[in-house]
Symmetry: C2
Subunit: 440 residues, 2 copies
């Protein structure tokens, strides 16, 4: 007999079918036992004679044959999509027995973060957890879809790199044969090289940061959605493209993940009209006026500033996202294009969403000599960047790009407390799957 | 004036337009100069007065305004899609000057592999190179598309791992904060864990192998197209799915990449009917009969054997791919399901395409105790696999999966000599972008 998926059972009243899945819950009523059976498509109520139900319990995997029956109206369950039917079991076969669970799966949302992650292979099965990663899947797919529709070429960026791309010490070192290498902090150099060949490119890649501290908004390994665009007219083309991406993502998630959003009590961020674009210095001024907090001399926004300016954008523009532009030159990587009107600042931007940076981008220096000079100014040797520099030596159009953090988008859409919840297998200072000090 | 893409120029006869691109070639004819101008969509002939052409040359980037004219019939160029028109330049603006090239881009196919890769940022721009990565893009996209249509869930696998997944010493070690970690040899454990939650999953991920030798068919970092499937009826379901994937990929590339295939003088592999499936021992017997080479006691096929058995499949079945099944248990990883009819062999398979393995797969052990026993038998400690083992401890359906090497598929479709040609930025013992001994 061929397996019927649970979502199809509503249409099978009176039919003899076979389903396979996990027992999500068991309720004993004397000689009758009820299972909620779960497969990848939904949940179905199964009615069994007590002797058929054996010692079966949560997470055991079974194959059940039986007849689909309509439930009496008063027994219908509006909480599940198959709530008008149930399966009257005639035959049951045990496929796999589960050990006793450390907690009921339905209690997953109440677990502390360490326990949630210690038991990730189990907690991934909870409906609330699956909903998070269903949304991640749609976010990433829509990023790809939008950029393909804008004629961007998808390439595969390498993650083993010979030098630190973005500078700084937050980089993982690899023992590479007789030599050393690093894990790329971003696909930056490679996407710029690819612009030389394909003009518009994107990649879904991993980025690695050896963050020496544990925060709620950093991961040691994360998914970066990177795009780079040649032959731009202006650096504002980059912001326009980002705006299209982010609006498409919200639209897609809103349509494709209605059940998941409901389950997680989340609503898609509001963006009315265009996303506001203000300079970092203007943002600091606004924050000063609103909070009396004077950070107007600081070279960057603090996490509190990011929250405050998002609050302002929401109140003033009914928009939960905002572009912050013109970050100081000395705080950005060597390849960032200075603003010709004031070279202390750059043609760069971040997008903040509900108080957190989810995107960073900007125009790049495309002139070979200027780029080489900047490498020196930033304290590096152009010889170490010879491969990358070829892309400019042999001609490069006016260009720029952007990078979205996939987990951060998901975190902010869902209002998750910790970025780790938005990564199926988060890595940080103290954890790779299991806790790193567990053997101590 | 808004940029017109070159592919659109054929439809713009008599119109005033602006194009941007690189000079692909320059031909001086007295007071007239011809440029072939290249953008991401094609090549266009531009006619200029000699004084406008300045010292412009190959790979310089320019913006040109002018009038699209029909060419006289005898001047048409059937080799390019815009061959019936040309642009009469009225204004030219230099966007970026290129240094002298070390070779003409059109000579890229004649370069030795080390030179091709030393100058990768430049050689990526050659039409023949772009064609390779256009095909890679379609291969990967079709893998995703096919599996989504079969209800597989896409997830993001981590690449930093705590233990060696497949055993063996060919693994890169990372300095991970105060501790150590490794680069994953495959997303195997994570896709199996995800099956516990989503039943059918796939991931496009990186796999890392510290291959201690340089061959034409290995990379230190490669793109793996990984799928895993729960609730299978039989391990042959896995081969059926792989067959669908591979046929869809060939169909898609054949349709979407006609120009690229022609440019690279390649034809899609022939698969008539079903891909033949034979046991490794049968393959060795056939090879013995055909070549008198007796490898019937060997635990694996040699590279020569793989070529020979593909030759046989082509002659006998008019099929350029073949499934080789039932590899010996001791040659496969600990999680591979033994064949119940003969536990010396496994329910595993490879796909060989035109003489090279492009896919490996098989059913996995889904019973917790059996898996734990096997970890011990393979000389490892179950404690080191506790996280992974949770997926089985808490119930796992009958399942299995497969992995395709993206670069290998591209190499075999195109008949490339070396796998490195199918990787934009190949890493091996002696190269990360530049040659590793270049500083010695």
């Amino acid at each position: 007999m061929i397996r019927t998926l649970i979502k199809e059972t509503s249409q099978k009243t009176g039919e003899q079918i076979m389903v396979e899945g996990r027992i999500a819950s068991r309720r004993d009523h004397g000689s009758i036992v009820f299972f909620d059976l779960r497969d990848r498509t939904g949940i179905l109520q199964v009615v069994l004679q007590a002797d058929m139900a054996l010692d079966l319990k949560e997470e055991d995997i079974v194959l059940i044959e039986g007849m689909v029956k309509e439930r009496p109206v008063k027994m219908e369950n509006p909480d599940i999509k198959t709530g008008k039917v149930e399966l009257e079991a005639q035959k049951i076969e045990v496929i796999s027995k589960a050990s006793d669970l450390p907690f009921a799966l339905k209690d997953t949302p109440e677990l502390s973060l360490p326990v949630l992650l210690d038991f990730r292979p189990l907690t991934l099965r909870a409906e609330q957890t699956k909903a998070i990663f269903k949304i991640e899947e749609e976010v990433i797919d829509e990023f790809r879809k939008t950029l393909k529709s804008l004629d961007f070429f998808e390439f595969q960026a390498p993650s083993i790199v010979p030098t630190a791309t973005e500078g700084g010490s937050e980089i993982f070192k690899i023992n590479y044969y007789e030599s050393s290498a690093f894990l790329g902090q971003s696909p930056q150099f490679y996407k710029q090289i690819m612009v030389g060949a394909f003009e518009r490119v994107f990649t879904v890649a991993k980025a690695y940061r050896a963050e020496p501290s544990v925060t709620t908004r950093h991961l040691s390994e994360y998914v970066t959605l990177d795009g780079e665009m040649g032959f731009i007219n202006s650096w504002t083309d980059l912001m326009d493209t980002c705006e299209t991406i982010i609006k498409n993502i919200f639209k897609r998630v809103g349509l494709a993940c209605q059940d998941e959003l409901k389950l997680l009590s989340s609503v898609i961020p509001v963006i009315e009209g265009n996303i506001p674009r203000i300079k970092m210095r203007e943002a600091q001024q606004i924050i000063l006026e609103r909070t009396k907090r004077d950070n107007t001399k600081e070279p960057d926004l603090t996490p509190e500033d990011e929250k405050e300016i998002c609050q302002w954008a929401k109140e003033k523009h009914n928009c939960e996202a905002i572009f912050i532009t013109h970050y100081p030159t000395k705080k950005r990587p060597f390849y960032t294009m200075p603003d010709p009107e004031n070279p202390e600042y750059t043609l760069s931007f971040d997008i903040l969403l509900r108080g957190l940076e989810i995107t960073t981008g900007g125009q790049r220096i495309n002139n070979y000599s200027q780029l080489k000079e900047n490498i020196k100014k930033w304290g590096n040797k152009p010889e170490d960047f010879e491969f990358y520099l070829q892309a400019f030596k042999y001609g490069m159009p006016k260009e720029g790009g952007f990078a979205f953090g996939a987990e951060r988008i998901v975190k902010q859409i869902l209002g998750l407390e910790n970025l780790r919840e938005a990564s199926a297998f988060p890595r940080d200072m103290s954890r790779i799957d299991s806790r790193l000090n567990s053997n101590e």
